[in-house]
């Protein structure tokens, strides 16, 4: 298995001076092709920070983030944007669809931004929508969709164009359990088909869909299902 995403001793400090908050403390993390990794932790544990770093939306204070062999830190804004539309797919909790665009156009967005011809992009988008089971909604606007449908569109957008890293930030947060499981099923299927997936969630039931579950506490990986437990738990707690 080849690692699609690698975080090597990554730290991220928000703010400066007295108000500085260390969101991630030297975290090392990988996600390999065909693997779905869940990141669990309470709010403020740094799991969302981990995801924004992996997606190139934010830069680490120290350490390196590598996606498909490319060090995001060494890339400029433009190249990072290119990575986001060609290599990384993002799924957000509140879907983040653009309300002014139809489902198909939302899905086609990364392809169009990458300079593909609208017709080809639209066709690929329709395929992706078919794959997530809502091909018939291609011409609807997000405002006219249910949450589950909107999240399916978001997933279609995250996977369209053969992207191999899917980052999902509480993708089921706004959905009921049934619909949420459908969404996880989709993510899972995508990873089984060869993509690397990172799923940030605070619900164990959802994390259980992953091959590996990583527990984050205060910016530190404290536990990993299947691997040896880390001793630092109480030290980390007392050290604060």
């Amino acid at each position: 298995m080849s690692a699609v995403l690698t975080l090597d001793r990554v730290s991220r400090v928000h703010g400066e001076g007295a108000s500085a908050v260390e969101a991630l403390k030297s975290v090392t993390f990988t996600a390999a092709a065909g693997e779905l990794v869940a990141v669990m932790g309470p709010s403020g544990s740094g799991k969302s920070t981990l995801l924004t770093l992996a997606g190139g939306l934010d830069s680490p204070t120290s350490g390196t983030v590598t996606v498909e062999g490319a060090d995001l830190g060494s890339l400029g804004l433009k190249d990072r944007a290119r990575m986001r539309r060609t290599a990384i797919g993002y799924v957000f909790q509140d879907f983040n669809l653009i309300p002014a665009l139809t489902a198909a156009e939302n899905v086609a967005l990364p392809l169009e931004l990458d300079g593909q011809r609208p017709r080809a992009a639209r066709a690929a988008a329709r395929l992706a929508l078919d794959e997530v089971g809502i091909g018939h909604l291609a011409d609807r606007f997000p405002d006219d969709m249910s949450g589950g449908q909107a999240q399916r569109v978001a997933i279609a957008r995250a996977v369209v164009g053969e992207r191999r890293l899917i980052l999902a930030d509480e993708p089921t947060g706004a959905l009921d359990t049934e619909t949420g499981e459908d969404i996880l099923q989709l993510l899972r299927a995508r990873c089984d088909a060869g993509a690397a997936g990172v799923l940030v969630t605070h619900e164990a039931r959802h994390a259980a869909w992953a091959d590996r579950v990583v527990f984050l506490r205060d910016g530190v990986v404290v536990d990993e299902s299947g691997s040896a437990p880390v001793d630092a738990l109480l030290d980390a707690g007392q050290g604060r």
Partner: protein
């Protein structure tokens, strides 16, 4: 008021929190208020009322009294300039001594005022002349000495700076143009209280030697207030008085003699209607420009409003929350606009002064109109918030609380109403497309524009549906514009209303210009010039001046019979067979209507070489050349020349006439040539005195500077002739300026509307932009989106506006360019027979202007917006 306290407090906090948006509204409303305020103050200041002008007329005196020769009783209005009634030759006027006696022990000093010609280094100039003893305390403040000293004796004068600029200086002799002007010398430079940029001279009585034009004499009178009773008493003795006290505190109308009753000029209804139209349009424009900000504000407050509604607030209370922000911002903008406007006016005063020929009045702030102006600002803010407030009050509470958009589906009613209003506007314009219908057309433009505003949402919705094929940024902008109708519609409508106005006015002014161009009749061949010499008095001077000022020109004398002198005028009748008139009208620019020569003079219009040749042949044979625009034919004409007294019209001497072999040449009806050209022999035979009547200038293009130079030189000649240069039709600067101002103002308003909408759209679209960034949009995508917004708003507005603007524009071009009735030809008997030539209507669409404003301007705005927009996309706005 109780129900408003909470909304007002909310509005105030909201205004402070969203500073950029508040600033936008403030600017939109404050700018027009500021402009109108400054204009109002400047106009009030530069308008010198009678009372304000008293010091300028009277100096330190209390009254200015006048007696007229042969008048022993007058009736006057409080201000004799408003009404003065007397019978000429009714009796004997008071002598100065009698007047002094009549005024009791009041001091008085004679003052004479008028205009005269002064020679300057280059030629001559008009100047205001004042004769008064400037050392008299009564006249003290009529001039303000800046250099030298005041005149102490006859023969000493002061001149003002304007005259000094023309070459006069202390010590120079004053060169008055007139037969027996006294010799005077300039002893000082002093500003006149009455004129500023025009030349003025003042000296002791007799120094300037001008005759008062209406045989009246005037005195400045001091010695304390002169009340109305005293004025009436003076009137009985034939003295009119311009009294400071009376003008400052006019008597009741009942005490004013009935024959000079001053009627209030009735308010001009047309002017009132036009003012109402202008105010309405301005209000509409401001409302539309400020509207988007309130729409966005209302949407930002949607959740608050939904919570208010959920906890039992009525729709009226929800409306108040939105309206309150209009009141807060409107009030601040209005008051601020008025105050800044006053400050601006004060700052602009020196500049305005430098452009006006008279002295400005005291700085004057007319509060009443300014309160109206401020009210306008407040009302426009309020109106701008009405629609957002209404929509906010009927939003879907459940949807908003659930985090969705709570806009109700737009009703079909408003577009239908829009169609109806547009129809009314078009019908009005069509009905107004007849002479005198301008006002109706202008009034009809308002429903048309309102109708268009109501139709904008439909257009946007249709565009949104058609946007599927557009590139991403544009598609995003169009769809987003269609989705946020409350924000986009007023902005688009503001642009559209602006463009409507620009297109309508553009079409009407350029049609006007087209009419002027089409009906322009040149008087001379293009590029030629002529100076008439009034009977050859100044022929030599004219030739010299031309030779000196216009190098390379060939002056040619045009000889003829002198048309008119001060004493008599010439009547030339040319007959051919039974036709006793050949030209429907005659007005010769060639110095005389009856020319004399061996060949046709130069500069004749509408005469070809063949005609010249045959004319030369007839003239050589001692015949005559006659001109006709009525198709009269004949090879023999009768020429009759009669003279009449210039004052009484009595014939002088016997008319002379002759029948001569002739050639009749067809000319244009609007021709400005002579009636006939006689052979010198024929003129001699008829015993006509032939002189050089004009000098034609050919062979060189006379520039405007040369023309001015020649004119100034000629002003100094006895007849003071001017030169006429034929430059063909020239759009008077006005049309061009109007079009430029239109384009400029249009561009400014369009830019305002477009930028507002774009700014608001971008701040609204932050989350969407963050999403774009997250899925990999490169930084410049934001620029693309910004430019697309600007393009959508500008372009849609411009196209709609241009389409609507064509209606009143084309309609109004008809009454503007159709001649009243038909042109007609005056027959010999003096009656009017229709010529059958219908002049106008003219329609000229200024395509360049329209292209500029519909295509270039939106593109330009989009480019500017695209280049100046921040390119960094918000990255994690939605993730935290």
């Amino acid at each position: 008021m109780r129900g408003w306290r909470l909304p007002l407090r909310l509005a105030w906090r909201d205004a402070l929190r969203s500073r950029a948006r508040s600033a936008l509204v403030l600017v939109m409303i404050a700018l027009p208020v500021l402009g109108v305020t400054a204009a109002t103050v400047l106009i009030a200041t530069s308008n010198v009322s009678t009372v304000e002008g008293l010091d300028r007329e009277l100096g330190d005196a209390d009254a200015l009294v006048a007696v007229r020769e042969g008048v022993d009783e007058v009736a006057q209005a409080p201000n004799p300039d408003d009404g003065l009634d007397y019978d000429e030759d009714s009796g004997t006027a008071l002598t100065p001594a009698q007047l002094a006696a009549a005024l009791g022990d009041r001091p008085l000093t004679e003052v004479r005022q008028g205009w005269g010609m002064l020679r300057t280094d280059r030629g001559a100039t008009d100047a205001q002349l004042t004769e008064v003893d400037l050392s008299d305390p009564l006249a003290a403040r009529l001039v303000d000495l800046t250099d030298g000293r005041l005149p102490r004796a006859a023969g000493e004068v002061v001149v003002n700076q304007a005259l000094a600029d023309k070459g006069y200086d202390v010590g120079d002799p004053l060169r008055l143009r007139g037969q027996d002007s006294p010799e005077s010398v300039v002893v000082g430079i002093a500003e006149s209280s009455r004129v500023r940029s025009e030349p003025a001279v003042a000296g002791l009585v007799g120094s300037l030697g001008f005759e008062t034009f209406d045989t009246s004499r005037t005195w400045l009178v001091g010695g304390g207030p002169m009340d109305w009773d005293e004025v009436l008493a003076l009137n009985e003795r034939g003295v009119s008085a311009y009294s400071r006290t009376v003008l400052e505190d006019p008597p009741p109308a009942s005490e004013v003699p009935s024959e000079v009753e001053v009627y209030e000029s009735s308010t001009d209804e047309t002017a009132l209607a036009i003012a109402a139209l202008v105010v309405t349009m301005a209000l509409l424009e401001v409302v539309l420009l400020a509207g988007p900000s309130f729409a966005v504000g209302a949407r930002r407050q949607a959740r608050t409003l939904a919570l208010v509604a959920a906890s039992g607030g009525t729709p009226a209370q929800a409306r108040r929350v939105v309206l309150a922000s209009a009141i807060v911002l409107g009030a601040v903008a209005s008051v601020g606009g008025v105050l800044l406007g006053i400050a601006l006016a004060a700052a602009l005063l020196p500049l305005v002064q430098s452009f006006t020929s008279s002295w400005l009045g005291p700085f004057q702030v007319a509060w009443l109109p300014l309160i109206g102006v401020a009210g306008f600002g407040l009302v426009s803010a309020f109106l701008a918030a009405v629609v957002p407030a209404h929509l906010a009050s009927r939003q879907d509470i459940v949807a908003v609380l659930g985090g969705r958009r709570g806009d109700r589906k737009p009703s079909l009613r408003s577009p239908l109403l829009g169609v109806v209003l547009l129809g009314v506007g078009i019908v009005g314009a069509v009905l107004g497309a007849r002479p005198g219908g301008e006002l109706l057309i202008a009034a009809a433009a308002i429903p048309a524009v309102l109708g268009m505003v109501l139709l904008v949402p439909v257009v946007l919705a249709v565009l949104g549906r058609l946007a599927g094929r557009l590139p991403l940024s544009l598609r995003f902008a169009v769809r987003d514009a269609a989705r946020h109708r409350t924000r986009t519609v007023p902005a688009v409508a503001a642009v559209a209303a602006t463009v409507t106005g620009v297109v309508a006015l553009g079409i009407s002014t350029s049609s006007d210009a087209a009419e002027a161009r089409a009906t322009y009749a040149p008087m001379l061949p293009a590029g030629a010039a002529i100076v008439s010499t009034l009977g050859g008095q100044d022929a030599e001077q004219v030739r010299t001046a031309i030779g000196r000022e216009v190098p390379g020109a060939e002056p040619t004398d045009i000889r003829g019979v002198r048309d008119a002198t001060e004493e008599q005028y010439l009547e030339v009748t040319v007959t051919a067979g039974s036709d006793d008139w050949l030209l429907s009208s005659s007005s010769s620019v060639l110095g005389s209507s009856l020319l004399v020569g061996d060949e046709l003079p130069p500069l004749l219009l509408g005469v070809d070489e063949d005609e010249r040749t045959s004319a030369a042949r007839v003239l050589a044979a001692g015949g005559a050349v006659a001109f006709t625009d009525r198709g009269v034919r004949g090879d023999e004409v009768g020429v009759r020349v009669a003279r009449s007294d210039g004052m009484t019209g009595e014939p002088i001497g016997r008319p002379v006439s002759a029948t001569l072999p002739a050639v009749v040449i067809d000319v244009d009806p609007a021709s400005t040539g002579p009636v006939a050209v006689l052979a010198p022999a024929a003129a001699r035979q008829m015993d006509l005195e032939v002189t050089t009547v004009a000098v034609a200038i050919t062979g060189a293009r006379v520039t405007e500077e040369q023309e001015q130079a020649v004119t100034e030189v000629l002003a100094a000649t006895a007849s003071g002739q001017e030169m006429y240069v034929e430059r063909g039709y020239r759009a008077d600067g006005e049309t061009l300026i109007i079009q430029l101002v239109l384009a400029g103002l249009g561009a400014l308003l369009m830019l305002g509307g477009t930028l507002t909408a774009t700014f608001l759209a971008l701040s609204d679209a932050r989350p969407d932009l963050a999403t774009l960034s997250a899925v990999g949009a490169s930084p410049r995508t934001r620029r693309g989106v910004a430019a697309s917004y600007a393009l959508v708003v500008g372009f849609v507005g411009a196209v709609l506006g241009a389409a609507v603007g064509f209606v009143p524009g084309m309609a109004v071009s008809r009454p503007l360019t159709t001649m009243g009735g038909e042109t007609c030809v005056i027959t010999g008997s003096g009656s009017c027979t229709p010529s059958g030539v219908q002049v106008g209507p003219f329609l000229d669409v200024p395509w360049l202007l329209i292209l500029g404003i519909v295509v270039v301007l939106p593109l330009l705005t989009a480019a500017v917006v695209g280049l100046t927009a921040r390119s960094r996309l918000p990255l994690v706005a939605r993730l935290s």
